[in-house]
């Protein structure tokens, strides 16, 4: 009986230890931290878990149990290392890809000046070749039905929508994913904040079977344009 209980105590200790370490290092995930944490976890876990596996399979030498735990931890460490390396090396490309969206929503503008915001600009002032302010471009994200929808949009100096495009989303293909299609996006063109509601309240018709996705896009645009209006004024 005592040995049986000991098994669960060991398991619990192992899990608490792993969680504790995970929470401590999560904000600074680099390859070095992952390898370091992996090693610590390996050292902490190897005895309790090996003991459990050893007890479960009577007759097998304990060396095999230790090998099992070591292999699982090593594979997890390699996977974590591969993930963080991929993430780090692609960050620059991701940011560059995002900036390349701006000229697409505002082909008339030549330069974009970020305004406000600590980490991300609230909006971009768009200037034409002659250096005149022609409008504002912005990114806005909001939770849709399956995940975050990232939109890029542009408004003219009267705050009417002149472009909207979906940069990233994970809505259901065939339903929510229709927010990408011109049939839905073109409804926004020329509208001001007051009209940016779903009909009958406003002028946007929701996509059949995808009310949540449609609402998210309309709400995101309305909130962001309202924000820009107050910011500019």
């Amino acid at each position: 009986m005592v040995k049986e209980e000991l098994k669960y105590v060991a398991l619990l200790l192992g899990i608490i230890g792993a969680l504790f370490i995970l929470i401590l290092v999560l904000p600074m995930v680099t390859v070095t931290t992952i390898l370091g944490v992996g090693l610590v976890v390996l050292l902490l876990e190897i005895l309790p878990f090996s003991y459990i596996i050893y007890k479960e399979n009577k007759g097998e030498p304990i060396v095999n149990a230790i090998g099992t735990v070591a292999r699982l931890t090593l594979i997890a460490m390699v996977a974590a290392g591969a993930l963080s390396t991929t993430y780090e090396t692609t960050q620059a490309y991701m940011a560059a890809n995002l900036e390349m969206v701006l000229p697409r929503v505002m082909p008339d503008a030549a330069t974009f000046t970020p305004v406000g915001g600590e980490e991300e600009p609230v909006y971009y002032e768009a200037y034409d070749d002659a250096g005149n302010l022609v409008g504002y471009a912005f990114f806005v994200s909001k939770e849709g039905s399956q995940g975050t929808i990232l939109l890029a949009g542009a408004i003219d100096l009267d705050y009417n929508v002149i472009a909207i495009t979906v940069v990233r989303h994970s809505e259901t293909p065939g339903l929510g994913a229709k927010i990408k299609e011109p049939a839905f996006r073109d409804q926004f063109l020329g509208l001001s904040v007051a009209d940016l509601h779903l009909s009958p309240e406003g002028k946007i018709d929701a996509i059949t079977g995808a009310t949540i996705s449609s609402t998210a896009v309309v709400d995101a645009m309305r909130t962001k344009i309202g924000e820009i209006q107050t910011e500019v004024a």
Partner: protein
């Protein structure tokens, strides 16, 4: 040489005998969810092919280092890592392809065909047969997804647009529209909504099994 598995027969088995949807009845969740059109079926199938190929290769390479007692956690770590890496890499280096396939990639995490093949095939065979198996299963899956997607699109919207992944005129990779076929019927919207997926898959599965039975009776 005789005991080496025939690569082509492994490949062909994935299409008919081990057809993931109709015979193994695996991966039904994403199949129901994304088959609203021909294009979506093709997109999901292609994204799936990348992941299955990668996971089969790695699981097959590591098969002698995988202790049986912890094989499931190891498979899941490998598959989840692969899905996430493909998601990030597509997003960073191939944004046009990501725009076309991106929404399907995270869905593959819930696709049990991948772990099914890892357990049933890749963990027991060497790398080359595992690649053949992955390709066969993927082709079988793509064909089924395009068939179901096509039927639902046709009945649900009254038209079907055939597409293929190709180099577009602007030099980017994306879906190229080949042809659009219209049928003169009143579209039944229910076919692109979730119930339509159940109707279509159920009927097709019945047909597939029925034909298979008839053919084996004739042969035997």
């Amino acid at each position: 040489m005789t005991d080496r598995p025939n690569l082509f027969s492994e490949f062909a088995a994935g299409i008919i005998k081990n057809n993931p949807v109709f015979c193994l009845v695996l991966g039904i969740c994403p199949t129901l969810a994304v088959t609203t059109s021909f294009e979506n079926g093709l997109g999901m199938g292609l994204a799936f092919t990348f992941v299955l190929l990668g996971s089969n290769v790695f699981i097959s390479l590591l098969r002698n280092q995988t202790p049986p007692i912890v094989r499931l956690p190891i498979f899941i770590v490998i598959i989840a890592t692969f899905v996430t890496i493909i998601d990030i890499v597509l997003q960073a280096y191939l944004p046009p392809l990501y725009e076309a396939l991106g929404i399907f990639v995270p869905l593959i995490v819930v696709n049990c065909i991948v772990i099914g093949r890892a357990e049933a095939y890749a963990s027991k065979n060497s790398v080359l047969p595992s690649i053949a198996d992955a390709l066969g299963i993927s082709v079988g899956y793509i064909l089924v997804l395009m068939l179901i997607g096509g039927i639902r699109e046709l009945l649900g919207t009254g038209k079907i647009t055939f597409v293929m992944l190709w180099l577009l005129e602007n030099g980017q990779i994306g879906f190229l529209e080949l042809a659009t076929l219209h049928i003169p019927i009143e579209p039944a919207t229910i076919m692109i909504l979730p119930p339509g997926a159940f109707f279509t898959i159920g009927s097709l599965m019945f047909l597939f099994k029925f034909m298979g039975k008839k053919m084996s009776e004739r042969r035997g």
